[in-house]
């Protein structure tokens, strides 16, 4: 087992290569996943605000119609 980790004296070279590759590939999926959920939350907020605004506009319109009639 120690022989395996020793890598015939090249341990630091071999394991640093594999380590860097591992971290890079891991970040390559974690970052897009995080951006994706952030985008979804942002869009949800935006659509909700738009809904509320549309509702308010309709209410205002109804108010003015009632006053003028």
């Amino acid at each position: 087992m120690t022989e395996f980790f020793h890598m015939g004296g090249y341990a630091s070279f071999v394991w640093s290569s594999y380590g860097i590759a591992f971290i890079s590939l891991l970040l390559g999926v974690i970052l897009p996943m995080r951006t994706n959920s952030a985008t979804l939350t942002r869009l949800k907020g935006r659509f909700r605000r738009e809904q509320i605004q549309a509702q308010e506009m309709q209410d205002n319109l109804q108010d003015t119609q009632e006053k003028t009639s």
Partner: protein, 248 residues
């Protein structure tokens, strides 16, 4: 027959359909990636015999070579889908082109850094300015330039066209990288797998290499779909189907 293929392409390239299919495919791709990765790593680190000249340091090859292959492969995917977007204005191919760039950049970076780490014990230096290494470094700059150009232009459809042109011009670098070890005298060793006669590498060393290459390809598709999903969300955020999907 031809119209059936065309219909399939049209259906598949419509953003809502693509988004749905991606959601279904990503977990499967993750499983295939992990399975091939474990099998490949087992072969690369345990069953493959140590090299008679390089000892165990040659095991860096199982990251270095597939990453270098991917850096070229992804560039070609990016350039071709960029060209398709440029000619036929297919939205999805624009998305595929730009979403490939960061993944390609990561693989190029990996090829360079692991090559450097391999070069230190074998060549006695981290870096030399020879043809193969310099051309691969230019590839990294091409990827980074494409990403910078895309983020600098506000309108994403215009940005996609600019990026596609840059990517197509950059294709000239790909054969230079591939043939650099034959055209110029270099420290970098010549091809041992991708040549026309029999590969000059032992089968026990070759199989893990091919498995790792498959694994990296699956990883690319998976990461690409993840990135495309987000890009579609942003680009299509004013459409009805996105609104319905997000609000439900």
């Amino acid at each position: 027959m031809f119209s059936a293929i065309w219909k399939f392409i049209q259906k598949f390239s419509s953003p809502p359909y693509f988004y749905q299919i991606s959601n279904k495919m990503i977990p499967w791709l993750a499983v295939i990636f992990l399975a091939t990765l474990v099998y490949g790593l087992y072969g690369a680190l345990i069953t493959a015999p140590a090299d008679y000249q390089q000892g165990d340091s040659f095991r860096i090859m199982y990251i270095h070579v597939p990453a270098a292959w991917m850096s070229l492969f992804i560039y070609m995917v990016m350039a071709v889908s960029g060209a398709i977007g440029l000619i036929w204005r297919i939205k999805l191919s624009e998305v595929v082109a730009i979403c490939s760039a960061p993944i390609g950049a990561v693989f190029t970076f990996l090829a360079l850094i692991t090559g450097s780490i391999w070069g230190k014990p074998m060549w006695g230096t981290w870096w030399v300015w020879d043809a193969r290494l310099t051309a691969e470094l230019i590839l990294l700059f091409l990827y980074l330039g494409i990403l910078a150009l895309y983020s600098a232009i506000e309108d994403k459809r215009t940005a996609s066209r600019a990026v596609a042109i840059l990517a197509i011009v950059g294709v000239v670098n790909i054969p230079i990288i591939h043939y650099s070890v034959e055209w110029w005298n270099t420290l970098h060793q010549g091809p041992t797998v991708t040549k026309f006669d029999k590969p000059s590498i032992h089968i026990d060393m070759l199989i893990p290499l091919l498995v790792m290459a498959v694994s990296f390809k699956v990883y690319y598709v998976m990461a690409l779909l993840m990135r495309c999903k987000n890009e579609i969300l942003v680009r299509e955020s004013n459409t009805k189907w996105i609104k319905e999907m997000v609000m439900k």
